[in-house]
């Protein structure tokens, strides 16, 4: 709505002047005033971009969604997206030490890889927490097959994964989401936004394609 106002701002002002002569009710006048003020609110000197930049810093690792940004600034989501794109482009420059990522629909500042060795030195941390092959396989199965039950995951992996699921839940990489209709009504699992963030995914559509296996004779080299 604001966007339309933006485009029509001058028009509105003109309209208003014309209409003044036509004896507007004070109520009508107020509405127009309001609309104009609303339009000005975040426009001056591109305050929207400035405010989004500031919010991005404050929220840090929590990030901010388009919906939140548009709600808080009183601008359309399209407009918010544009502003984020402009900021994103500015921070993408090689000379900048951090950038704006959007994984899983949440915008957040992240330091660039070049900074990492120095951050390690500053915090005197050893290498960042890794992830095991077992955890990766379990996560992959859930991400591609969700919602999925524990038994179904175990069938694919061929090993029990009760403890692994709890660990992944504790790391906020998966969550329970309802129960299956199967006998015993087992819990269904799915991946979280944190998973998306940890694997640099904007959406699950971005998951690498599963390799396809042709069951014909020329697929012998599968295991090379």
């Amino acid at each position: 709505m604001i966007e339309n106002l933006e485009n029509n701002k001058e028009e509105v002002i003109e309209e208003k002047e014309v209409m003044l002569h036509e004896e507007l009710t004070s109520e009508q006048e107020e509405k127009i005033e309001e609309a104009i003020q609303e339009t000005n609110k975040v426009e001056e000197g591109n305050r929207a971009g400035t405010i989004l930049e500031g919010l991005l810093f404050i929220v840090g690792e929590e990030g901010i969604t388009l919906a939140q940004a548009s709600e808080v600034l009183g601008i359309s989501q399209e407009r918010a997206e544009e502003e984020f794109s402009l900021l994103q482009a500015a921070y993408a420059e090689d000379s900048r030490g951090f950038e704006i990522a959007n994984y899983g629909g949440t915008y957040k500042f992240l330091s660039k890889a070049i900074v990492h060795p120095y951050a390690e030195k500053l915090f005197q941390t050893t290498k960042t927490a890794g992830i095991s092959q077992a955890a990766l396989e379990t996560l992959a199965i859930i991400a591609y097959k969700q919602p999925i039950t524990r038994v179904e995951i175990e069938e694919i992996r061929g090993v029990g994964c009760d403890m692994m699921l709890r660990k992944l839940e504790a790391r906020n990489l998966i969550r329970e989401n309802g129960r299956s209709d199967a006998p015993g009504r087992p819990i269904l699992y799915e991946v979280t936004d944190e998973f998306m963030d940890s694997f640099k995914l904007y959406s699950l559509d971005e998951l690498p394609k599963l390799p396809e296996f042709n069951t014909d004779e020329n697929s012998e080299n599968l295991f090379d």
Partner: protein
């Protein structure tokens, strides 16, 4: 034959089977279950000989393999009868192996993404946010997750780490070549007529300082404050110039 890969290197029985299939150059689409079963059994026995623990999952799959192998040698009419009621166990095994192989492959790609992401860091949410948030009433039940605790703990640890001076020898690293040259000149008075490079670096507590010392010496030699010779043992000896 010898098995070079220990059982704890496998993620489970399917992973082990894929390894054996590859090693034996078996055709997954025309799988010889008898060969696979024999290899699988030999491998598990070998691991037990090495006193490596074989998890129950491996034995469970072994039972399935043996069951299939024994069915194959049963009279045909009986196996035909059973096939009408359930998926051919061989097809089922091949399907499972293929599916598992798929996830094993994509998890490698996911691993790359994970490591790329791990190189990027964020900051905790700003503390000023606490003033702006209106926490629910004190008695309201907490809807937390272990992850909230990790984040809070990490925040404490970061803060703690930054509040401490970096534990390295600032004095040593801050030392300029000029200052080091002055130090060396001062020490010359107390040193014997001839002394080794090792003597000069006795007071260095890290490599940086050794390098500064070395560069300072080069400088002093250039100014003819010091002269040096290198003996046949490659020890550098210094004398006042």
């Amino acid at each position: 034959m010898t098995f070079t890969v220990a059982i704890d290197q496998f993620e489970g029985p399917l992973d082990l089977m894929l390894h054996l299939i590859k090693e034996q150059e078996l055709d997954l689409f025309d799988l010889d279950i008898s060969v696979l079963t024999d290899q699988y059994l030999t491998y598990l026995n070998h691991m037990e000989d090495l006193h490596l623990e074989v998890a129950s999952e491996y034995l469970l799959e072994l039972a399935t393999l043996i069951e299939y192998k024994s069915k194959k040698i049963l009279p045909k009419d009986q196996s035909l009868l059973e096939d009408e009621f359930e998926e051919d166990p061989k097809d089922r095994l091949v399907r499972r192996l293929l599916e598992y192989q798929q996830f094993k492959e994509v998890s490698e790609q996911l691993s790359d993404l994970y490591h790329q992401r791990a190189m990027q860091m964020s900051k905790p949410i700003s503390i000023e946010v606490d003033e702006w948030t209106k926490p629910k009433t004190e008695d309201a039940p907490i809807d937390g997750s272990p992850y909230d605790l990790v984040k809070a703990m990490n925040k404490c640890l970061r803060r703690l780490q930054l509040s401490k001076p970096i534990e390295t020898k600032f004095t040593a690293k801050e030392l300029s070549m000029e200052d080091r040259s002055l130090q060396i000149k001062a020490r010359l008075r107390d040193l014997p007529d001839t002394f080794s490079f090792e003597t000069l670096i006795e007071d260095c507590n890290d490599m940086q300082m050794v390098i500064v010392t070395f560069l300072s010496i080069l400088d002093l030699a250039r100014q003819h404050t010091l002269v040096f010779t290198i003996d046949e043992n490659e020890t550098i000896w210094f004398k006042r110039g």
